[in-house]
């Protein structure tokens, strides 16, 4: 019994690392640019298809394609911010919500037209490998994904706290007006924030590829998790999103183990609704918006 619980917790933590990459992106964009990117999940999907095609056409390992998917998505992020998001910034959030929502709808259905609804998988030498420790089972691909995800999250933290650009980003998040007065160019900071968030989504896609199938709707799974994690971890809070994502992964995994295979989402929704009912400002407290 205890072993089953520990195994479920480990599975949850491993997938929670991927959720963390997606939700850190959502919360970074929300914190800095002050919009919610409904299309974040679709960028995970794009990351997955990039890795799939590199593996399929050139035999490049999905983990190496990280070095392609992250820069490509960074550039896409900068372009999206500069040409689309910038035009709808302001106090009215209706265009912001529906612009990113339309982007999500567009990317998803373009993928459906171009790649069909088929599931695509990449088989690597380590896809079926696993460590056996005691009675526990730790798949290598998921472990690598988790470690890289944590390393990237750590790198982002260091970037935000030590570099000038990172500090400018946090300044723009906390007091945009004052940041502008201090000579920070908001559009440049927003572009970097959006690009970084999308690069993280791309990384999540590449890391998923050795053990997860790519299909047009795949992003929806991750974005829903990310939204719940971002609400739980207090909007705009990077550490909060990270911790909440790991918790969500564990909760989902325990739900699958003890309630039923298709109950993962129900557990997630229950967590969201409970959070809203009792801790609407997130588990750590803090302000709504």
């Amino acid at each position: 019994m205890l072993e089953t619980v520990v195994q479920a917790v480990i599975n949850g933590l491993l997938i929670g690392g991927i959720y963390a990459l997606v939700s850190i992106g959502v919360t970074l964009i929300f914190g800095v640019v002050k919009i919610v990117n409904f299309a974040q999940g679709e960028f995970v999907m794009i990351g997955m298809y990039i890795s799939f095609f590199l593996a399929n056409q050139f035999g490049i390992d999905p983990l190496l394609s990280l070095f392609v998917s992250m820069p490509v998505l960074f550039v896409i992020g900068v372009l999206v911010q500069h040409f689309l998001i910038r035009r709808v910034l302001g106090p009215n959030d209706m265009p912001q919500i529906f612009l990113t929502f339309a982007l999500s709808l567009l990317l998803l259905n373009l993928a459906l037209m171009l790649f069909s609804a088929n599931y695509r998988t990449v088989h690597t030498s380590y896809s079926d490998e696993a460590f056996h420790i005691g009675g526990l089972y730790i798949p290598v691909a998921k472990l690598i994904a988790f470690v890289v995800a944590m390393a990237l999250s750590g790198a982002l933290w260091v970037f935000l706290h030590t570099t000038d650009l990172g500090k400018a980003m946090r300044a723009a998040a906390q007091k945009p007006d004052v940041a502008i007065l201090m000579g920070i160019n908001p559009n440049r900071v927003f572009c970097v924030a959006f690009g970084t968030a999308l690069a993280l989504a791309g990384a999540a896609g590449s890391l998923l590829m050795p053990f997860y199938s790519a299909y047009p709707f795949v992003g929806q799974v991750f974005v829903l998790m990310a939204f719940v994690a971002v609400v739980m971890g207090t909007l705009g809070n990077v550490m909060g999103a990270l911790v909440a994502s790991l918790m969500m992964g564990v909760a989902e995994s325990l739900g699958i183990q003890f309630v039923g295979a298709d109950s993962g989402l129900i557990v997630v929704f229950a967590m969201l609704l409970l959070t809203l009912a009792f801790k609407p400002n997130g588990l750590g407290g803090g302000r709504v918006r």
Binding site: V36, D93, L99, F101, A102, L106, F269, L273, L276, V288
Partner: protein
């Protein structure tokens, strides 16, 4: 001023006459099917627009109430033999009651996170209907017994009768919207939509107004749900709680003109006509093309014409009025 009102009434009467005669003139069942879709989604859009358009509470979870309406009337009909006409009203009441706890939770969040919470509640309801088979047939759903021509059970021969039912629903939705637009409630809603904090500061009881309009919006959306399952004779969670219904409700209003009486109707006419044309050109084989086009239209509207087609029409009308005396 009186002249304007007379013209408005006349054009409204003309429109009503055209809509009533339409299914007698165009008898192709394919065309009537498209008309029914246009009227149905206009009606859902009108229901969404009350809350999403006037008060700017942008819900993407109206499928929850569509589904509740559909399931309430179907359960009453299949299990207890009660007429869907009664079931329709009962479904509306169920949806209204459900909107209270859902609203209580979702209204704790503002802006985009309100939107996400509404998506989550609609998905959660779908999962409940999928998972609990004792509640209502689980994932397989059920067909609605075909009684032939039985107007008392909301079953008709030929599609024209369904057309008139949904035309009636749309008229009801527009009448309610018009009444609300003219009342204090309408001003409260617009004030909340502009700036909720400022509205509260001048004495608008925002939580109460939002709760009330959410109830009305949920009630109307549920009526559409009942009508839809009666029309297609089938119900399952994926149809009744389809996320596409939530999307289309919001989309037609935004494309047509958010927070305007006729916006959702104009938006639906554009989107559904586009979709019907695409289908006849490309066939239904190309998955995703319809929503790709919808997404492009939506992006274009948001970037260039945030007031929607109604805004374009109003601008064109104003330019015409201004130019007219110069010509004369």
């Amino acid at each position: 001023m009186a002249g304007v009102n007379k013209w408005k009434l006349l054009s409204l009467a003309a429109l009503a006459a055209i809509l009533i005669v339409l299914p007698q003139v165009v008898t192709s069942s394919f065309a009537i099917d498209i008309f029914i879709r246009i009227l149905l989604f206009s009606f859902i859009g009108v229901a969404w627009n009350l809350m999403g358009g006037y008060a700017k509470q942008l819900s993407l979870g109206h499928a929850a109430y569509f589904g509740l309406g559909a399931y309430t009337s179907t359960i009453m009909q299949v299990d207890f033999g009660i007429s869907p006409w009664i079931g329709m009203v009962a479904g509306g009441i169920v949806a209204m009651l459900a909107s209270l706890p859902i609203g209580w939770l979702c209204f704790r969040l503002r802006g985009p996170y309100f939107t996400i919470a509404t998506i989550a509640t609609a998905q959660a309801l779908m999962l409940i209907f999928l998972k609990f088979r004792d509640l209502a047939w689980g994932a397989e759903g059920t067909t609605i017994p075909n009684l032939g021509s039985s107007p008392l059970m909301m079953q008709f021969e030929g599609k024209a009768a369904y057309y008139y039912v949904v035309l009636g629903l749309l008229a009801l939705g527009l009448a309610i919207t018009y009444r609300i637009e003219q009342s204090w409630m309408g001003y409260y809603l617009v004030a909340i939509g502009e700036d909720e904090d400022a509205a509260e500061a001048i004495g608008v009881n925002a939580p109460r107004v939002k709760r009330d309009i959410y109830m009305i919006s949920a009630f109307l959306t549920a009526l559409a749900g009942t009508f839809y399952v009666q029309y297609i004779y089938f119900i399952d969670p994926a149809t009744a709680f389809d996320f596409k219904i939530s999307i289309e409700a919001a989309l037609v209003s935004i494309v047509g003109g958010i927070g305007t009486l006729w916006g959702p109707v104009i938006g639906t006419v554009l989107l559904e006509t586009t979709s019907a044309l695409l289908q006849s050109w490309l066939g239904s084989t190309t998955g995703g093309i319809q929503l790709t086009v919808y997404a492009l239209i939506l992006m274009a509207i948001i970037l260039w014409r945030p007031t929607g087609l109604m805004g374009m029409l109003t601008d064109a009308y104003r330019r015409y009025i201004r130019r007219k005396p110069a010509r004369a």
